[in-house]
Symmetry: C2
Subunit: 374 residues, 2 copies
């Protein structure tokens, strides 16, 4: 099948790598000139509102998916006139606006941190009085990797937060104290079959995902997370892979956000899963049987942010799998990841420690100006 | 790194699929217009003696490898003037001519079936008198998948064999009785590091590989095969993945042929190995540390010849991994494979039986004119 992907970043790239063995071909559509999926896919380089280019794209593909949840809803609606698009505009509409998203989750009885739409400074002060400090002010739209948000730790921080973000629709959320962050990734096919991956534990730094561990230790939350994602998927009649990120507070799940796509926290499934999130997304949207979400042992994924270290040291390490996205280095940019695996979650921690030691020795020895981020 | 591949078939395709995550880019050079690696690699479509096209190819890549052992040696010699080519012309020269190959193996003390160069009919009669029947007459060059060979079962079959193959350099080999066929696949880096995969057992039909099982049951031959391939690789100062196919006769290894490339019998390593033959070939030629050749449990690879069955039934099967090469159906053509895995070799046999039953039921149900080949 010829599959079009809106967005040509590393997620599109990994979808294509998973999809070629299934016999699919891929074309990405991305307004950026240089996209890393372009190394192995045709690339239509045009704006998301360029109807001629969208027509050309649609003509060349049998169906369309996306690697980016902020593709304009209008683009998807336009393409839907001639091609199936999974996930569809409804899921995007919900996921693109933090207020719509939280309203939607709440309407399904899925717990979120207290939140309030903020359109002016008075509303901000009022909400802060109600929630107390700390709280987090976010743009309703287009935030990712910690961009478009400001923590307000105390009253003196209100002005700075307001000045940095005002002028666009905002949302204030109570900054809840959580023990850890986990994510649930599941694939749903058009017939309603669902396959849920083990719960993954995620650690962020400056709003960017740094490391993921699967299965999350003490995964007695798996049942709750499964119930929640099933409810959400069924309600949206969702097709493809959906991700929900949660805070764990006193062993209860508080939904943070959803991503209508394959997700960074599921990259371990390429190397440690029997069927990766990428393959399962493709199986779902093409209405093929979903693959198992079982994993062998335990796995950790470490993101490389900004620059990639030299792979030699990592590749000397038996249980390491290297993923270079072929992107130019840039501060804060996700340029690759490495997956480590072991037979047990506890064994995995030892493996990570050994791996990081070997890597830091290499970096010291080479005098490289690289950094270790996990 | 930008890597050029001479030949753009499924082996090039699987090399590229393994190599994109390592950050490499690929260009294939193939005289055929429609090549399946072209789905995900740039393709230079020109003859192997087109020096302008070869120059253009070399300019775009940092180094060159191949997916096909019958690339003209002259092509490799020409490219070697400006780019590193692994494996090099010496290995190709040995592997392209069955007589040179057997002479070379014999010179290293590696046992082969009795053979004799045949340039005219008298030599054939003489050799048959010495070897007895059955024997097998083969073209010295360009034979693959059972093409270019004729079994001579008795004296009355001499004319037919001679008529079908004469006019080109030939070799007669004694058709030895063997218990089974196995192959050894190993990767060697420029520094001489070698990683050997578990021995794989192969079953052929009409000269075409149908199924491979790894590890080969009763792999007490592993030590011998390792010794042989190390001797061969060291002698050729070989870089990359090399394959040697053996007959097992009374629990001894008799070398049949070598392939200076990744090999169909190692495809199981994509799904059941920690580091596939494709990744290890790329690690070897780029002088990165070789990956482990360990496998988890046991695996079988079933080739799809001619046509692919509908994947739904196979994909419903938890431990099946689907590989569609994106090639047009054609009788006798390798168009894909499926890998099955299990915890133990004996468990694997049960899995295969279940898988084949499910698949044959699907084929019967669909009334498809497809066939089961394993």
């Amino acid at each position: 099948m010829n599959i079009g992907i809106l967005g040509g970043g590393q997620l599109a790239r990994m979808l294509a790598i998973a999809g070629y063995p299934l016999g699919h071909r891929f074309i990405v559509f991305d307004p950026a000139e240089d996209v890393c999926a372009g190394d192995l896919c045709d690339h239509i380089h045009a704006a998301y509102d360029d109807h001629d280019a969208l027509d050309r794209f649609a003509e060349q593909v049998d169906m369309i998916t996306l690697d980016f949840e902020n593709v304009p809803v209008e683009t998807v609606r336009y393409l839907k006139q001639t091609r199936t698009v999974f996930p569809d505009d409804r899921a995007l509409e919900v996921a693109q606006d933090r207020l719509t998203e939280k309203d939607y989750l709440s309407s399904l009885g899925i717990g979120c941190a207290p939140y309030r739409a903020i359109d002016d400074r008075d509303q901000l002060i009022e909400a802060l009085t109600e929630f107390g400090y700390p709280a987090i002010l976010k743009t309703r739209r287009m935030g990712y990797d910690g961009k478009g948000q400001a923590v307000i730790g105390e009253a003196s921080g209100v002005d700075a937060a307001w000045d940095s973000l005002s002028g666009q629709p905002l949302i204030l959320e109570q900054l809840i104290e959580f023990e850890r962050e986990v994510s649930m990734i599941a694939a749903r096919s058009p017939s309603g079959d669902v396959a849920c991956y083990p719960l993954t534990e995620n650690r962020h730094k400056n709003g960017i995902l740094m490391t993921s561990f699967a299965p999350a230790l003490g995964d007695d939350l798996l049942e709750d997370a499964t119930r929640i994602i099933l409810r959400l998927m069924d309600s949206l009649d969702y097709v493809g892979v959906l991700t929900v990120e949660f805070f764990v507070c006193q062993n209860k799940l508080i939904a943070n956000e959803m991503a209508p796509r394959v997700h960074n926290s599921g990259h371990w499934s390429i190397d440690a899963g029997l069927c990766s999130q990428f393959e399962n997304h493709l199986r779902a949207i093409t209405d093929w049987p979903l693959g198992t979400t079982e994993m062998s042992g335990a796995a950790a994924m470490l993101n490389w942010i900004g620059v990639l270290p030299d792979p030699s040291s990592a590749l000397s390490y038996k249980n390491a799998h290297w993923h270079n996205y072929g992107k130019k280095p840039r501060p804060g940019r996700k340029v690759g990841h490495v997956t480590l695996s072991a037979d047990t979650p506890l064994g995995l921690q030892a493996e990570i420690a050994k791996f990081m030691l070997a890597l830091s020795q290499q970096l010291q020895k080479s005098g490289a100006n690289a950094f270790l981020n996990p």
